[in-house]
């Protein structure tokens, strides 16, 4: 556990010092939310209805950037080699990096939620469901993303191949998270808790696969 926290803290400390996510990724998320508003012609009824889908699509876009950033900090100075030499098990490095990405995404999601409440005039009907489903979805996105992020290391086409690999894998997470938010934001009559259970299953599944596979991939970086 100590090593997992150490890797996560390292990434978060780098982010705290560089402020790349705060100064570039977060504004990007807000810009996308605004663009959705412009594209839908400022029709608040439409915006409110589709808030869950727009919210989670934006989260996926943001996640791509956050994951690329998470990988970039390791590749820039060949830090992956240092991670391997540190003696920490691959699965611990994986969980540490996924935890750091999840923490950054969670922070961005809080700001985005405030954004959709203000910009789209959405109201939260079930705060508990919002929190739990968002946590489950964020873990699923960050674990799958951390695995695929390191898969894309060492290739000149990392920026283009990562979304192509990752987004189809995250499509079920997008659907489940959107349905859960439909219930939580009262935009559709669905049982959000059922979808949250599915999100939790994906989070556990991706965490297990990532923990097992990360060492194999890390060896090749």
């Amino acid at each position: 556990m100590h090593e997992i926290v150490a890797v996560a803290t390292k990434d978060l400390r780098i982010e705290w010092r560089s402020k790349v996510v705060a100064s570039q990724v977060l504004p990007f998320a807000v810009i996308v939310l605004v663009l959705f508003g412009l594209a839908l012609d400022a029709d608040r009824g439409t915006l409110r209805t589709f808030t869950p889908g727009l919210f989670w699509v934006t989260v996926l876009f943001v996640a791509i950037l956050a994951i690329q950033r998470s990988v970039a900090v390791e590749t820039a100075s060949s830090a992956f080699e240092a991670l391997r030499l540190s003696g920490a098990a691959g699965w611990k490095v994986f969980l540490g990096k996924a935890m750091a990405v999840a923490a950054q995404l969670a922070a961005i999601e809080v700001v985005m939620l405030l954004g959709v409440i203000i910009l789209y005039r959405t109201s939260v009907a079930d705060p508990m469901l919002v929190v739990i489903s968002a946590v489950a979805a964020t873990i699923a996105i960050s674990t799958a993303g951390s695995l695929y992020g390191v898969l894309a290391v060492g290739m000149g086409v990392r920026d283009t191949i990562l979304p192509m690999l990752l987004l189809p894998i995250l499509a079920p997470v997008l659907v489940a998270a959107t349905r859960a938010f439909d219930d939580a934001l009262n935009t559709a009559a669905v049982n959000g808790w059922t979808w949250t259970v599915m999100l939790a299953c994906f989070a556990v599944l991706y965490a297990i696969i990532g923990s097992v596979a990360y060492a194999v991939v890390l060896e090749d970086t």
Binding site: G90, Y148, M155, V157, I161, P172, A213, V216, E219
Partner: protein, 305 residues
């Protein structure tokens, strides 16, 4: 998980220029052609149209078999990937690629025939909320990404191991696609399995079974050819590397012979000549730098004198 070094081919080499065909595959190919003709006759002339769907029902003789056989393709990719990670087998890596490509081809056929069938039956080409359609499309995109990824990794061993991980993550989608009409029964226009509910009878069932056989044979025929093609491609890759190494070694030997034949050549020149030698380029380049530095120092001394 402990990492494994990918082992080189354990299958017999295929003679260059022999192609991917063999007498057995030619017989299988002819059987496939005959099967397609017979299936066409049964599907369009001998079976009757459906009372509700009309002639559109004939699409199931293609759609259902390719939908089921597609899973075998992705299954081969998954088994091959496990073997790559477990045993480091390049043979299985070649099989995994062949399986994934054919799975993708059959998946595309399944989606295409489904879309064509959906227009007259559901009055729509595509239904976004449909669980079966969406999960099928995602499965298609996942393996499209797998194949695209393979093209971006130049080293064969790294490519085999990394893409194996992607194939194994992708296989999770197969049971989701297969069970989607049961799990999301209220979110799909797609009917339940036509085979398990026993609604198909007599000639329709026979023709559908024939569809499975014919498309199964085509699958096997294509799989063999794709595997052999992949194997030849790998051999060509290895042959190219060996040829390049042999050329460099020959050049190195020639340089050494030349330096022995002309011992009067200065040491600095020899070391610069090492730039063209085989073996360690870094060392050769480093030696060249030292030689140039020595020359530079000599030039300086001359200037001072």
């Amino acid at each position: 998980m402990p990492t494994t070094t990918v082992r080189q081919p354990e299958a017999p080499a295929i003679e260059p220029g022999s192609g991917t065909g063999s007498p057995k595959t030619r017989i299988l190919g002819i059987a496939c052609l005959v099967g397609v003709v017979v299936l066409f006759v049964f599907a369009f002339f001998l079976t009757e149209e459906d009372q509700v769907q009309g002639d559109v029902v004939r699409m199931i003789y293609v759609h259902v078999p390719v939908a089921i056989i597609e899973y075998f393709g992705f299954g081969i990719a998954a088994v091959g990937s496990v073997m790559v990670l477990w045993r480091g087998s390049m043979w299985w890596d070649t099989a995994a690629v062949a399986g994934a490509e054919l799975g993708l081809l059959y998946s595309g056929l399944m989606i295409g025939t489904g879309v064509i069938w959906g227009r007259p039956t559901w009055n729509t080409w595509w239904e976004w909320g449909d669980a079966r359609l969406m999960t099928s499309l995602m499965l298609f995109l996942v393996y499209l990404g797998y194949l695209a990824y393979r093209r971006t990794v130049p080293d064969a061993e790294t490519r085999a191991r990394r893409s194996a991980v992607i194939a194994l993550v992708g296989i999770i989608n197969v049971p989701i696609v297969n069970r989607s009409v049961e799990w999301w029964a209220n979110q799909t226009l797609h009917q339940q399995s036509s085979l398990s509910d026993g609604r198909l009878e007599d000639l329709t069932l026979f023709t559908l079974a024939m569809g499975f056989v014919v498309f199964g044979m085509i699958f096997v025929w294509l799989l063999i050819h794709r595997f052999r093609f992949g194997w030849l491609e790998r051999q060509a890759e290895m042959h190219g590397l060996e040829a390049a190494l042999a050329e460099r070694r020959a050049q190195r030997d020639a340089d050494i012979d030349e330096s022995l034949a002309h011992p009067g050549v200065s040491e600095g020149d020899d070391m610069r000549g090492g730039d063209d030698m085989g073996g360690s380029d870094d060392m050769a380049a480093g030696s060249g730098d030292v030689g140039e530095a020595a020359d530079g120092a000599g030039q300086q001394s001359g200037d001072q004198a």
